[in-house]
Chain length 302, copies 2
């Protein structure tokens, strides 16, 4: 069973203390579907302009990503430019050009409408809802969002959240969405807004999952070489949802494994610029890193 | 087998968003020995002034802490005043009065000199070295330090570090001591300065241990009620070293369990002001929380 993802496909210009890329392949749907492609089939809903390089299309095709929902329209592709200092947890935006994304009204191809697993990447909550409305009978819906939507479209976001099973946001967004500084209390508030599961991404500090009454803390992999954190969160979501879709099991125990799988994929993503870190992994490398996560967090009971 | 600790005994005035205490019992040696007292005997080396309330002495006696190395001298006890905002990770110092601590020249009672396990809490690295020099045959030495000593007494600190087996510092201090922004590289540098084990405290994000070639990531316990983070790091060290001393086993596997035990004790400490959270625990509560840490971080292998 595959996953439907709606999100951005972008050209990113990124500078970090370790180098720079110009107009590299980026966007939430791109990172998500590349991360998920190691586990399951992915159907993309997104838009690019006439200027979008064919080589990027070809790359996504090598990952067997279904691009029948990727519209190419007149105009320029969505662009983001930003930089990171040594504190790689914080992206500094220099420029966001929505371009063709500004008037994007996603229309699902007929053959996408039977999708059972849906990921609504970080876009306007009204678009998220409209995409979800076109899926006939979704069984598991996950979504991402950000401070911009919490601040500018809270009522619309709350409407979308009612339809979402799993929300993946960072810790500042968790506190902001709930209006509560304590993370545990904030999580409980958010679990009363619709989602049954809240996944709090904390960058180099790992991930916390609040799933009903259970809390799971997954470490991040301590890396010696973090070159570019762009797309880490979307790659995490791709690995996580990809593993869930490949097992069709959303018990707490399996969500924990999936979350570690997402963390593995994110750890590969940040080891290179753009999609470099996750463009050509083999499954053995992923398994090996999963086992390193296991060793990293293991301790004996009393 | 017990532990010898040298550090401060203080009167703390602390304000957090949840309340305030005036001249409450505090200090690194106090938090450390109370945390360790649940696991082993503790011998304290510290100094207080004539104004130090007898009730605090009596409290430490109820924890069976050996106070024969606590000097009471003319003058005022060490005082610290500070506050925390909603970001409870960051202590803001308003006032530090060293008072009797300023001229403190620790002299070990004869019966302390056979101590096998030593903890050098965060004090002047020259004092740390002088105390250690009075111990005949230490088998395991752990130490804490802070940015103030890294900046003002680096050569002396480096001398002390040569004699230290386990160093416990926070992540900013790790980067600063090594002069290296990447935590993994910074840790490796510090492991070439003397310590065989580096424990990096990350507040609400848990603890990382670099032990030879092995890395262990322990979560922090997600608490709904953090009232006062003062002393969390010293209580962590007390639980950690107390468990190590009670087992006399510093294999990697046992250090991991000890580190989780330290995290348990720290999680109790922050649930109340001053020593309130760790003054009257029973061992069953500690075991229960240890098992909650186990559940919190558990996931199945692939």
């Amino acid at each position: 069973m595959g996953i439907l993802v709606v999100g951005s496909v972008a050209l990113d210009t990124v500078k970090t203390p370790f180098g720079k890329v110009d107009e590299a392949l980026g966007g939430s749907a791109t990172y998500f579907s590349t991360g998920a492609s190691y586990f399951t089939d992915v159907r993309v809903v997104a838009v690019v302009g006439q200027d979008f390089p064919e080589k990027h299309i070809n790359f996504l095709k090598t990952k067997r990503v279904d691009l029948s929902g990727l519209s190419r329209v007149p105009g320029k592709t969505f662009r983001w430019e930003g930089f990171y200092d040594f504190d790689l947890n914080k992206a500094n935006t220099l420029r966001t050009e929505l371009n063709v994304f500004e008037t994007f009204k996603p229309e699902l191809p007929e053959q996408y409408r039977d999708s059972e697993i849906v990921f609504l990447a970080n876009i306007d909550p009204e678009l998220q809802k409209s995409v979800l409305g076109q899926v006939r009978n979704p069984r598991l819906v996950a979504a991402d969002t950000m401070n911009f939507w919490i601040e500018s479209k809270k009522p619309e976001l709350l409407e979308t959240l009612k339809l979402v099973d799993i929300l993946t946001i960072n810790d500042a967004e968790t506190r902001e969405l709930a209006g509560e500084p304590n993370l545990v209390k904030a999580a409980r508030k958010i679990l009363s807004m619709g989602p049954k599961t809240l996944i709090v991404k904390r960058g180099e500090y790992g991930v916390l999952m609040f799933n009903g009454g259970s809390i799971f803390s997954a470490p991040a992999y301590p890396l010696e070489a973090v070159f570019d954190p762009t797309g880490a969160g979307d790659t995490f979501a791709g690995g996580f949802m990809g593993y869930v879709a490949s097992t069709m099991d959303w018990s707490d125990g399996n969500l924990r494994k999936a979350l570690v799988m997402g963390s593995c994929m994110a750890s590969f993503a940040v080891e290179d610029f753009s999609l470099g870190g996750i463009s050509s992994l083999d499954y053995k490398e992923i398994e090996t890193r999963f086992r390193e996560f296991k060793k990293l967090s293991h301790f004996e009971d009393l």
